[in-house]
């Protein structure tokens, strides 16, 4: 353990510097020539710093692997004192490595993808800013600083989804993402308020994770609204996670977020930001250890979302939408693992998913690039000849996500399902398994519609330049080997205690076999159901179900009518129209003014101008006065 480890801040500073340079000087001084490489170099520097920190961390004995550094005291008032402090433990280390590593590849890819865009430097500025916030999120040593990263990545997501702001739809999608995330953030904040409030009442004011973990027992036995305090705090924070990690009920922003440039979808909306919720739960695992009922909720929500996402993905025609719903579904797996009590398995799947999903998105980007912007898979087809390398890489990604051994997805997904099975609720395991089958199906469908079969367009597609394909090759290598490497090293690194237990399940091999067979069945059905005659016949037969799924179960519409419209109506008609304008202003303020005016009109009549009348009133008054005095 080391409390003064100055190297840590150098993970965050280079991307921040990159943001400032590209943001302030980019357009005038750096231009396309330097801006992109500067952005990528900043991330490379952060990656190298992470590697150095990791090697120092590994040199420490297993039980005291923690590096900390306090930069300055950030907020201090009353009893609150919050430091700008960073921590680097195995969990942060894995996240930092994944974030900086995948980010670097995507930055390099972006240099090719964004070539010629008017907002080139703005793009790299935002992307660098995103990485700095993401690193603050994963390295923060207290939940408040983590929240800085948490909202910060949300901001960058907002900026990058609406990157091509001239199209109203993109800007609207960005806004939707930000606001949906904020709804979740409210839960996160209230959960934190409750936790800090309860701890403060016990005399605990420090907010760093170590102190919280030490004192979390004080929350046990406290009852809030009929639930144990840890349960309710855990549920509130999980609600925050459903926003950021696009889980039910707040997943609706992620499909729209595909409006952003495709590398952004790969980095933010697949590999890194959307998995922040999983990281947060793993970080707060000391709390969830006291809240088994909250974990049950996590498990069920994760399972439901995984299934829902996979079902919707099967009928999407936009290549990026398929991948978006696939991401929602895969993050559901991560939450299943966490809910079943294995944070290590969740983070393992997070890591492998970062590799193969980033690969798939970049490949999709390569296709879109090659097709000059087309995203509808039904207008593609037969691309395997014209984009051979992209095809091979996509196929690798497809096999990885389907869970075919020995690719990455197989190891991690299988481990997740093993933990869910061990948790003992068969229906959840079965749903997870069915989702695995659906996953193999929709991704095979994507591969076939895009690359195989008949060519459905007139123009000529072109393979992407090397600057785009090389990062994809690296990611493909990781997607091929990451699972095996991860199961060998990552799990013990993350959780030295639990790793010794894995593999002890006698049923493990049988489960493995079942899931491989399911994946193969999914792939086979992918080939089967994309046969044109068959798919048309099925579409006719199940027209209703197909419509419902294609329209994503009308969840967006339900939110629109059940929440947004009534709220807007309340704001417009009730609050502003009735209360503000009619009641307060109309009745009370201007009403009082009118009343005064009317009263004046009436009393004015006394002022007749008749001197005799005045004299009479005066005399009468005088008499009354004299009478009263005497």
């Amino acid at each position: 353990m080391n409390d003064f480890y100055p190297l840590l801040k150098w993970i965050i500073l280079p991307p921040l510097a990159g943001f400032i340079l590209n943001g302030l000087l980019g357009r005038k001084f750096l231009g396309e020539k330097w801006g992109g490489w500067l952005g990528a170099a900043a991330i490379l520097a952060a990656f190298i710093a992470s590697c150095l920190c990791l090697s120092d961390l590994l040199s420490l004995p297993v039980e005291s692997r923690l590096l900390r550094d306090t930069l300055f005291n950030w907020i201090s008032a009353g009893n609150f004192s919050i430091d700008f402090a960073l921590r680097f433990d195995p969990l942060s280390a894995v996240m930092a490595m994944v974030v900086t590593g995948v980010s670097f590849l995507i930055h390099v890819y972006s240099i090719g993808y964004m070539r010629g865009d008017k907002g080139f430097n703005r793009y790299f500025a935002y992307l660098n800013l995103f990485v700095s916030f993401m690193l603050i999120l994963v390295l923060a040593d207290n939940p408040i600083l983590m929240f800085v990263g948490w909202e910060g990545v949300g901001l960058c997501s907002y900026l990058l989804i609406g990157f091509w702001y001239e199209d109203e739809k993109n800007a609207a999608a960005g806004k939707k993402a930000f606001i949906t995330n904020r709804v979740g953030d409210a839960g996160f904040l209230i959960g934190l308020m409750l936790m800090f409030g309860l701890l403060a009442s016990q005399g605990i004011f420090a907010t760093d994770f170590a102190t919280l973990a030490r004192n979390v027992n004080l929350l046990d036995g406290k009852i809030v609204l009929g639930f144990g305090a840890p349960t309710i705090i855990g549920l509130l924070m999980f609600f925050g996670a459903t926003g950021k990690s696009a889980q039910f009920p707040l997943y609706v922003w992620l499909p729209d977020a595909m409006a952003g440039p495709t590398p952004v979808s790969a980095l933010i909306h697949a590999a890194t930001m959307v998995t922040a919720g999983v990281y947060m739960l793993a970080r707060m695992s000391f709390l969830y250890a006291l809240a088994p009922r909250a974990l049950e909720a996590v498990l069920v929500v994760g399972c439901f979302t995984a299934f829902l996402g996979a079902v919707i993905a099967t009928l999407q025609s936009d290549i990026k939408k398929v991948l978006a719903y696939s991401t929602i579904s895969q993050i559901g797996y991560m939450f299943m693992a966490v809910g079943a009590g294995s944070y290590a398995a969740g983070v393992f799947h997070l890591t492998t998913h970062a590799f193969f999903k980033a690969l798939l998105f970049l490949a999709a980007g390569s296709v879109i690039h090659g097709m000059s912007g087309e995203q509808d898979m039904f207008k593609m087809g037969g691309l395997s000849k014209e984009m051979r390398l992209t095809f091979v890489l996509t196929a690798a990604g497809c096999l990885a996500i389907s869970g075919i051994p020995p690719l990455a997805g197989f190891y991690s997904k299988d481990l997740v399902l093993e933990h869910v099975h061990a948790h003992g609720i068969p229906i959840l395991w079965l749903t997870g398994l069915a989702t695995a089958g659906l996953t193999a199906y929709y991704i095979t469908r994507l591969l076939i519609l895009t690359f195989l079969g008949k060519k459905n367009f007139a123009t000529h597609a072109h393979e992407s330049p090397l600057i785009m394909t090389i990062p994809m090759v690296v990611l493909a290598a990781l997607a091929l080997t990451g699972g095996w490497l991860g199961s060998k090293y990552l799990l013990t690194f993350l959780d030295p205690a639990a790793a010794t237990l894995s593999g002890a399940d006698p049923e493990a091999h049988r489960l493995m076999l079942i899931s491989v067979v399911t994946a193969l069945a999914g792939i086979a059905s992918g080939f089967f159901f994309t046969i044109p005659v068959l798919s048309e016949a099925l579409a006719l037969k199940f027209r209703f179900a197909r419509e419902v799924i294609r329209n994503k179960f009308y969840v967006d519409e339900i939110y629109e009518f059940a929440i947004i419209r009534p709220l807007k109506w309340t704001a417009d008609s009730v609050f502003f129209g009735f209360v503000d304008s009619d009641m307060i202003d109309g009745l009370m303020v201007n009403g009082a003014a009118k009343l005064t005016y009317r009263a004046g009109l009436i009393i004015r009549k006394v002022q007749t101008g008749n001197a005799q009348l005045y004299a009479l009133a005066f005399t009468g008054g005088l008499i009354l006065l004299l009478y009263w005095i005497m």
Binding site: E166, E168, N170, A171, M193, K568, A571, I584
Partner: protein, 535 residues
């Protein structure tokens, strides 16, 4: 320099007024000279006020830079001034915003320029006086005097409905102040009864004791005046009209400084004077604050006029602040004081930005814009940061204040604080919605396609605001430290109710707030004597 340092507060407060009078002597036609004089003077006031800021001893809870000179000695009315950490930040906010507001008016104001700048400077004296007065009579004079220049700023240089707005602003505020004046006179007479002398000293007012029922009435009289100023729902409807009609500089100072006077009134007067009553009113104040957060945000959402939207967002933000000061929890109060500064910066900046657009297109309607990002990238970038500050994004100033208020007041009012969090979310709904329709999307009106980006002068008054928006967000510690002692004094003053209500008289003199060393000795001793006799 010696003269300035010896009379620092007086110089800071009176210099703008002197400048206003000097401006009146300048020939009407020399507009450039008038503008430069006004700006130079207000900038000088800011520079001088830096001596106040850096000379302030943050470890000392007592009033500093105190002045105490007899004014109307027969009535115990003195020229008493002094600052603690809370008033210090408010004074700095005022001296900081005024030159920026003046700079923003150079093109906007084309008629009666001399009178306009003289009015602005006179207004500054009024505002500064309110924050520094330690004599209740003097406070009242500044409080009322400030209304006059503001009334004319709205009524003369305002928009089409300016007369209605100015009158509404004036009558609303007067209604509150009249009751406050009655309460002030009542307390002064009670002080005479209890201690044998007339005094309008704030600390003598603190010492004057009342039974709970009387306290409640007196508190209500003060609270109403301040609630109108804040403004708390349902006393807020003067604000949107005043803002919409006021010229940019008027809006900036109205939102940036004038609203803070309401909160300052609670902190300095209403709560420490009547702690027992404050304790029983506090949940209601906090409740009104939270209603304001949600109500203000929702109503802001339905405004088609940018200025009106920002005005209603002020209602929401001020609601959070009132929640903070009603919680009587150090972190929440610290957050509230910081948030007063933050709101001044971000809302001031928002009004300036709307002003930038108004000068170009002479409309404030959201619908008349769209797609500005292309023609005005600099403007859009600043607008984005300011908007995010207003929304409370971590890393910018708004978050620090909101965070402290919400987490601090959660300990006192968990339900209200949780509800306020929901209101904070709504801020993203209306702000992002407005930003999107103004800055993003296609250019909907041809005349917007080639709008010029920010001029040097516009950068000049926006960048200082931006610098503080970021600085306070990243490193708020210096500002929080300044207010720490004053906040603690406020919280302990509010907790005084047990002794003062139970024992009745006098014991208030022992509390930390009255230990400040500005009390005229005779009245102080008399007070002690009277207190002892009663025991």
């Amino acid at each position: 320099m010696n003269f300035i340092d010896a009379n620092l507060l007086t110089v800071i407060i009176m210099l703008p007024l002197a400048g206003a009078l000097a401006l009146l002597l300048v020939p009407k036609g020399k507009t450039a000279l008038i503008k430069n004089m006004a700006f130079g003077l207000s900038a000088a006031v800011f520079i001088i006020s830096l001596r106040l800021y850096f000379g302030f001893d943050e470890t000392n809870a007592a009033m500093q830079f105190t002045v105490d000179k007899p004014w109307l000695p027969d009535w115990g009315i003195n020229y008493r001034l002094g600052v603690d950490g809370i008033s210090l930040l408010m004074l700095m906010l005022t001296t900081f915003l005024t030159p920026l507001a003046i700079l923003a008016s150079f093109d906007y104001i084309q008629e009666h320029q001399k009178a306009f700048y003289a009015g602005l400077l006179a207004l500054q004296t009024g505002m500064l006086g309110v924050f520094a007065a330690l004599d209740v009579f003097l406070f009242y004079v500044f409080w009322e005097a400030m209304l006059i220049p503001m009334y004319f700023l709205i009524g003369v240089w305002g928009g089409p409905k300016r007369i209605y707005a100015a009158l509404k602003f004036f009558i609303y505020t007067m209604l509150g102040s009249v009751l406050m004046l009655a309460a002030i006179i009542f307390i002064c007479l009670a002080h005479k009864e209890q201690f044998g002398t007339y005094s309008f000293s704030l600390f003598d007012f603190y010492r004057t004791a009342f039974d709970l029922k009387t306290q409640l009435w007196l508190f209500a009289a003060f609270a109403l005046a301040f609630a109108i100023k804040v403004p708390l729902v349902p006393f807020h409807t003067w604000l949107p009209d005043a803002h919409v009609e006021a010229p940019t500089a008027g809006s900036v100072l109205l939102a940036g400084v004038l609203l803070k006077m309401g909160v300052y009134g609670y902190l300095r007067f209403a709560v420490p004077m009547f702690p027992a009553a404050a304790q029983s009113f506090a949940p209601w104040l906090a409740g009104l604050g939270v209603i304001g957060v949600i109500y203000g945000s929702l109503v802001a959402w339905s405004q088609p006029d940018m200025k009106k939207m920002v005005a209603y967002s002020s209602v929401a933000h001020m609601g959070v602040i009132v929640l903070g000061i009603s919680a009587f929890e150090p972190a929440a109060v610290s957050g509230a004081v910081l948030q007063m500064v933050n709101h001044g910066l971000s809302t001031g900046a928002l009004f300036l930005l709307v002003g930038v657009l108004y000068e170009r297109r002479h409309t404030r309607m959201i619908e008349d814009y769209g797609g500005l990002a292309k023609a005005m990238p600099g403007f859009s970038a600043i607008f984005m940061i300011v908007m995010l500050s207003s929304v409370g994004l971590p890393g910018l100033n708004g978050f620090v204040g909101e965070f402290l208020i919400l987490f601090g007041s959660f300990r006192t009012y968990p339900w209200l604080a949780a509800a306020a969090v929901l209101g904070v979310i709504l801020s993203a709904v209306y702000m992002l919605g407005m930003y999107q329709r103004v800055v993003f999307g296609p250019v909907r009106h041809e005349e917007n396609r080639h709008l010029p980006d920010l001029s040097v002068r516009e950068w000049g008054y926006l960048l200082p605001l931006l610098a503080f928006i970021i600085f306070i967000g990243v490193y708020p510690a210096p500002f929080l430290r300044k207010t720490d002692a004053a906040v603690k004094a406020y919280v302990s003053a509010a907790a005084r109710q047990q002794d003062s209500a139970a024992e009745g008289q006098g014991s208030a003199a022992d509390s930390s707030l009255t230990n400040k060393n500005v009390n005229p000795p005779h009245s102080y001793k008399a007070g002690r004597r009277a207190a002892k006799e009663r025991r």
